[in-house]
């Protein structure tokens, strides 16, 4: 997997971003089986089994502090489960998972000493691209991401929505088949958040990746995902798995007010509140 990413980066890569047809062959799925995790005596995840098919988008919703972020860290190979297995593209070692996943943290964590463009190009630089090459490849996507003209801007001078877009571009440009998004829009105001959801849905249509999306916003999860897993309070277990209604209107307002969508959302809310599904 690491080999693939590397090759991609060297051969003028990020073909995945520019032309969806040549995305990493079929993408990589994520499989979690009987996953358990604990910090000392504090059990955070219990008997969790969940599969995300290649290029699938799965939303994880659950009460605050239920271990959603821990789950993303396990998937990304940043930590290892106490019991059970987690595999990315069929590989279970933490180093292999790390090579297959890109993590987008809750706060954008853009580096203030780099411009927007250099922040977006960070993964390419880490993978060994020369600065000029990395910047050129990142710059090619700035227009499509609505960031044209802000290449040299410092992160502190960008709006919240733009910062999230730079952060997402940075994640995308890593060329990883799996994206782990940790409440990517939680810090934004309601209007910007709705716009960003619409924008992200479009970005993923143009460039499909396997996505695990953690959020506490049921509507966001259902709008962006194929499937939504509702987690219980700690220790996290899956209490309901819901399929988002298909087909969804491309317009977000139309999609979220659709009768079928509202019905599934209510079902998810019931599961979240702890009523048996």
């Amino acid at each position: 997997m690491r080999q693939d990413t590397r090759m991609n980066a060297e051969t003028g890569g990020i073909s995945a971003v520019e032309a969806p047809s040549s995305a990493p062959a079929g993408g990589a799925g994520v499989t979690m089986r009987d996953l358990e995790h604990a910090y000392g005596d504090l059990r955070t995840i219990e008997q969790l089994t969940l599969a995300v098919e290649p290029h699938g988008v799965v939303g994880l919703v659950g009460p605050s502090g239920c271990g959603k972020s821990t789950l993303l860290e396990l998937i990304c190979g940043l930590s290892d489960p106490v019991a059970g297995t987690v595999e990315v593209g069929g590989a279970g070692e933490s180093a292999q998972r790390l090579a297959g996943c890109a993590y987008m943290p809750q706060r954008d964590l853009l580096l203030p000493w780099y411009s927007a463009l250099d922040n977006a190009a960070l993964a390419l630089r880490n993978q060994g691209s020369r600065r000029a090459d990395a910047r050129e490849r990142a710059a090619a996507l700035f227009e499509r991401f609505g960031l044209a003209g802000f290449e040299a801007t410092a992160p502190a001078e960008l709006s919240g929505g733009m910062r999230q877009r730079v952060a997402f571009l940075r994640t995308l440009l890593s060329g990883k088949p799996v994206l782990a998004l940790d409440e990517p829009f939680a810090s934004l105001d309601a209007i910007t958040r709705a716009e960003m959801q619409e924008w992200l849905a479009g970005a993923l249509r143009a460039d499909p990746r396997t996505v695990v999306l953690v959020t506490h916003d049921v509507e966001e999860a259902l709008y962006l995902s194929d499937r939504v897993a509702v987690l219980s309070a700690r220790p996290a277990q899956i209490v309901a798995e819901l399929r988002a209604p298909e087909p969804r209107a491309p317009d977000r307002d139309a999609a979220v007010t659709d009768a079928a969508f509202v019905a599934v959302r209510e079902e998810a809310m019931r599961a979240l509140r702890g009523g048996s599904p």
């Binding site: 790390l98 943290p105 580096l111 000493w113 993964a123 890593s174 990883k176 782990a180």
Partner: protein, 251 residues
């Protein structure tokens, strides 16, 4: 310009008040001192001018000790902070010693340093460097340890090596902290150099002049030497502050 007005005004008022109090003999009679022990600012200024070449020669000696000693302390302090940051074991093992070393009075070890390094510039460099080392190390290490753990995780999933994470995230985060430590260090470095000359049997430097003039009750020149020392400290501090503004552009 406006923000300089208040400090300049204050200095002018203080010097003016001192001038009046000293020239009328008010301070001397209030403290029951001989009036030559209380030089007025104008006397200090004329002493500064009359002794300009003597002061300049000796100030250069002291300035060189301060800059070289500070440079050694900076390199050693930052280097040590990086080592402690990378090695948990080293940090646990040496941090208490580092703090304890600050409790050792330099006065006590100065004679040993002179035995070890002779009467040249070396014992002065060692004393200045020792004084600078602590604030620089502690501040730089605090800076390195203040990095957001989430940023480290992010860098790992973006394929960063340990070195790349250090260079692109940890080092820039620590930079403003290291500058704070350096600014504290450079101010005490001047005191360190004067003390080193004092204790180290030097025959040149502002520290030597101060000792001689103190003994000979050359009070106007004594104050002139203190003025030069202060000017050196302020200039070095300002140079560091300027360097910080040029390097740390994101603040």
């Amino acid at each position: 310009m406006k923000r300089w007005l208040a400090p300049i005004l204050l200095v002018v008022i203080l010097i003016g008040a001192w001038q009046i109090a000293a020239s009328t003999g008010a301070i001397a009679s209030a403290l029951s001192l001989e009036s030559f022990l209380v030089p007025s600012p104008s006397e200090i200024a004329s002493s500064l001018w009359e002794n300009r070449s003597l002061l300049a020669d000796n100030a250069w000696v002291t300035l060189r000790e301060v800059i070289l000693g500070f440079g050694c302390g900076l390199v050693a302090g930052v280097g040590f902070a990086v080592v402690l940051h990378f090695s948990e074991t080293m940090r646990r093992a040496t941090y208490p010693l580092l703090v304890a070393s600050q409790a050792i009075p330099i006065v006590a070890i100065a004679p040993i340093l002179i035995v070890l390094f002779g009467f040249g510039i070396w014992p002065k460099l060692v004393i200045v460097a020792l004084i600078c080392f602590f604030p620089i190390t502690v501040n730089a290490l605090d800076g390195l340890r203040s990095v957001d753990p989430a940023a480290i995780k992010l860098m790992r999933t973006l394929d960063a090596s340990r070195w790349q994470t250090f260079r692109r995230v940890e080092a820039p985060t620590a930079l403003p902290y290291a500058f704070s430590g350096a600014k504290i260090a450079v101010a005490v470095a001047v005191i360190g150099a004067v003390f080193a000359e004092w204790a180290g049997g030097s025959n040149s430097g502002l520290g030597v002049l101060i000792r001689v003039d103190n003994a000979q009750l050359e009070t106007a020149r004594l104050f002139a030497e203190v003025v030069v020392l202060s000017a050196i400290a302020i200039a070095l501090f300002a140079a560091l502050a300027l360097a910080e503004r040029c390097v740390v552009t994101w603040r």
